[in-house]
């Protein structure tokens, strides 16, 4: 029987699952993701993780728990730095250790460390190390790695065309593209991918917006090239990759005129977001008065509350836009 490699469907899953999946599958392993978040998974995580941790970490614990007993290995890389400049939140840096030392009966971890600042082919070396855990050797690993990178490129280019990770995965798998129609409004929905795209924990945010006729632009829809051109938006750049990207995306999008509203999705108890949120608020004020809403997500976010707030927000933006169309100029600072 093929070795079963479990991949918790949270945190960096939303960005790197296609590559990871391709890599391990090419090595002959059976890849088992924990799947979409459910109430049970969240409950497992809340029970298992530290009460003072942020929701996404609790959720990740839940996804790990859901895989315990189902797999031979768990793939939990220690992702430190992927762009030579910024690192991930310290909780990502200590992720394998937290899992290993606090969840009972965890299967062996494949916890390769990825820090591209260390050497030129650090990324490949990390993959190679992961492959070696499964007993694969030189050639096979190189090939699997190439395929993984090719998948990743295709996946990212789909994201850049405006698809969400779920849609992009679907397209990669089936080749057919879901229909798309133009909405009445366009919102920037900014936040970490594991919040924005997790339909359960975000209380179906993206789906709800779509139903209300709102098109959405997310950080992942923008090319990093463009984002890294947003120079000097802060005196001292943020250290954390994901927070840094959120701010860069905000500055880029706010300068363009076709964004009708900005929603910041933030996790209850998130350390970095206390800074990101504040800077984002300041940025919104700095450019022009784009309607702005901050959506804080915790393990108890209820359907009803969020639905009402979203509807009110969309209505407000809609009214504002209509007024603006009738008498241009009235949109200047409120």
């Amino acid at each position: 029987m093929a070795v079963r490699v479990g991949i918790p469907s949270s945190l960096l899953y939303y960005l790197y699952y296609p590559a990871w999946n391709t890599f391990f599958s090419e090595l002959g392993a059976r890849v088992i993701p924990s799947g979409n978040t459910t109430r049970e998974i969240l409950d497992l995580g809340v029970k298992e993780a530290l009460a003072d941790a942020c929701v996404p970490i609790k959720l990740y614990f839940g996804h790990v728990k859901a895989l315990v007993g189902q797999v031979d290995y768990l793939f939990i890389p220690r992702v430190v730095c992927l762009n030579r400049e910024t690192t991930y939140c310290p909780k990502f840096l200590g992720l394998p250790d937290m899992i290993l030392h606090s969840i009972k009966n965890v299967p062996p971890l494949i916890d390769v460390r990825i820090d591209v600042r260390e050497e030129r082919d650090a990324l490949f070396k990390a993959y190679r190390q992961a492959g070696q855990v499964l007993g694969a050797t030189g050639r096979v690993i190189i090939q699997a790695y190439r395929k993984a990178m090719a998948t990743e490129r295709r996946f990212f280019s789909l994201l850049r065309k405006g698809w969400s990770p779920h849609e992009a995965l679907q397209i990669l798998k089936t080749g057919s593209r879901p229909p798309k129609k133009k909405g009445r409004l366009t919102f920037a929905v900014l936040g970490y991918p594991y919040l924005v795209y997790d339909q359960y924990i975000s209380v179906g945010l993206l789906g709800r917006l779509k139903k209300m006729g709102v098109d959405v632009v997310t950080v992942e829809n923008l090319a990093p090239r463009v984002l890294y051109r947003q120079k000097d938006y802060l005196e001292k750049r943020l250290f954390w990759t994901l927070g840094d990207l959120v701010l860069r995306a905000a500055h880029y999008l706010l300068r363009r005129t076709n964004i009708d509203g900005v929603i910041h999705v933030t996790a209850f108890g998130c350390g970095p977001d206390s800074l990101v949120g504040k800077y984002l608020e300041m940025a919104v004020h700095q450019y022009r008065n784009v309607p702005f809403m901050s959506l804080s997500i915790d393990e108890h976010s209820g359907d009803a509350g969020i639905a009402t707030r979203l509807e009110a927000f969309v209505d407000m933006v809609m009214r504002k836009k209509e007024v603006g169309l009738q008498c241009p100029g009235s949109l200047s600072p409120m």
Binding site: K91, S102, S274
Partner: protein, 362 residues
């Protein structure tokens, strides 16, 4: 004369004040963090900013109305939030109408030029580097004296026979050190302070527990932020050893990593091989070391939402189990109450006493 201020970190202001005045600045002393400080900080800082960010902001909001032009603080290099304090504080203070600047001192080993440049901003009389070095040396010696005296109180307080005698003596001798100026005076003041403290009547036979304190640097060093936990423990008959002192820490950060730092790292290795920023890994490593040194327990102090300490706290139960040492964590914020803390501490002390008794009979 530039008007400057700096954060309140324990008794260290006595040394910084001297240094800054020697260089020719007018110092506006930061008050000891109080309820008012916290209220101000909480009001103007982002909700989930960590506790130190709020206290420091509150402190600045108390001193800025007195005409502060320059705030001096230390940066800390990512990946934790500390490096961003200054920028956030500046933005908030400016938005409230205070035209202040913040000078961030990064470790000179990493940014030697920036360090010199920053020093020049605090040197209105253009003193020579040699003269500045002399000032720094005296200030450093004063810091050491302050640390040494504080360490001694941790040993004496649990053994005092009159409740509060140590704290009273400590308050008194701090003033002696405060007034000392030349190197010789500082050394003399330190000596007399130590003698004075040793005069506090003690019961040498008392069965005293030993507890190590680990955690995030600010809440460790500023008693007002940890509700004077060391004093409370001392009154419960517990001798504390804190894993961080300003002179220990600044040195680590300033010169090459000391051998002591290395062993902490090695001790943490089996549990947390990664440096997280902040002091998360040290919390783990020091806990292991305290256990190996036969301490009765460890207390971790962490600001609410502190990222590295949350990682450490997630791993600590395993360390505690492996090394059979009780560990208690306090996540501190503006809502932490002294009474609640005292209750938890009493229970913890009971637990350690029972454990110790069991070990003796075994």
């Amino acid at each position: 004369m530039p008007r400057i201020t700096f954060p309140h970190v324990g008794e260290s202001y006595r040394s910084f004040k001297m240094l800054m005045e020697d260089l020719g600045n007018e110092v506006i002393l930061p008050p000891r963090p109080s309820k008012r400080t916290l209220d101000l900080g909480v009001r103007y800082a982002p909700e989930f900013a960590c506790f130190p960010v709020k206290i420091l902001l509150g402190t600045y909001l108390e001193t800025c109305p007195q005409g502060v032009e320059l705030i001096i603080t230390s940066g800390g290099v990512g990946p934790c939030r500390a490096g961003h304090y200054a920028q956030l504080h500046k933005k908030i203070l400016r938005s409230l109408g205070y035209q202040v600047d913040i000078v961030v001192f990064e470790p000179p080993r990493l940014y030697p030029l920036e360090f010199l440049h920053n020093i020049q901003r605090l040197n209105p009389h253009r003193m020579s580097y040699r003269a500045i070095y002399e000032c720094i040396r005296r200030a450093w010696r004063k810091l050491q004296a302050l640390d040494n005296v504080e360490k001694l109180t941790h040993k004496i307080r649990p053994r005092e026979t009159v409740r509060g005698a140590t704290t009273r003596a400590y308050r008194r001798v701090l003033e002696w050190i405060d007034r000392a100026y030349s190197l010789a005076e500082i050394e003399e003041a330190e000596q007399s302070a130590i003698e004075e403290l040793k005069k506090v009547p003690q019961d040498p036979y008392r069965d005293v527990l030993r507890v190590g304190i680990v955690g995030e640097v600010y809440v460790l060093l500023e008693p007002a932020s940890n509700l004077e936990i060391e004093e409370t423990l001392g009154n419960l008959g517990v001798e504390v050893e804190r894993s961080l002192f300003l002179t220990g820490w600044t040195r680590d950060n300033t010169w090459a990593e000391t051998t002591e730092g290395l062993t902490v790292k090695e001790a943490a290795l089996p549990y947390l091989p990664e440096l997280l920023g902040g002091h998360g890994r040290d919390s783990i490593g020091n806990t292991v070391l305290y256990a190996k040194r036969g301490f009765d327990g460890v207390i971790q102090l962490a600001p609410f939402t502190c990222i590295p300490e949350i990682v450490a706290r997630t791993i600590l139960p395993r360390v505690s189990e492996d090394h059979s040492i009780p560990v208690l964590t306090f996540f501190l914020d503006e809502q932490t109450g002294k009474a609640g803390m005292a209750t938890r501490l009493e229970a913890f002390v009971d637990l350690m006493r029972r454990k110790k008794a069991a070990r003796r009979t075994a």
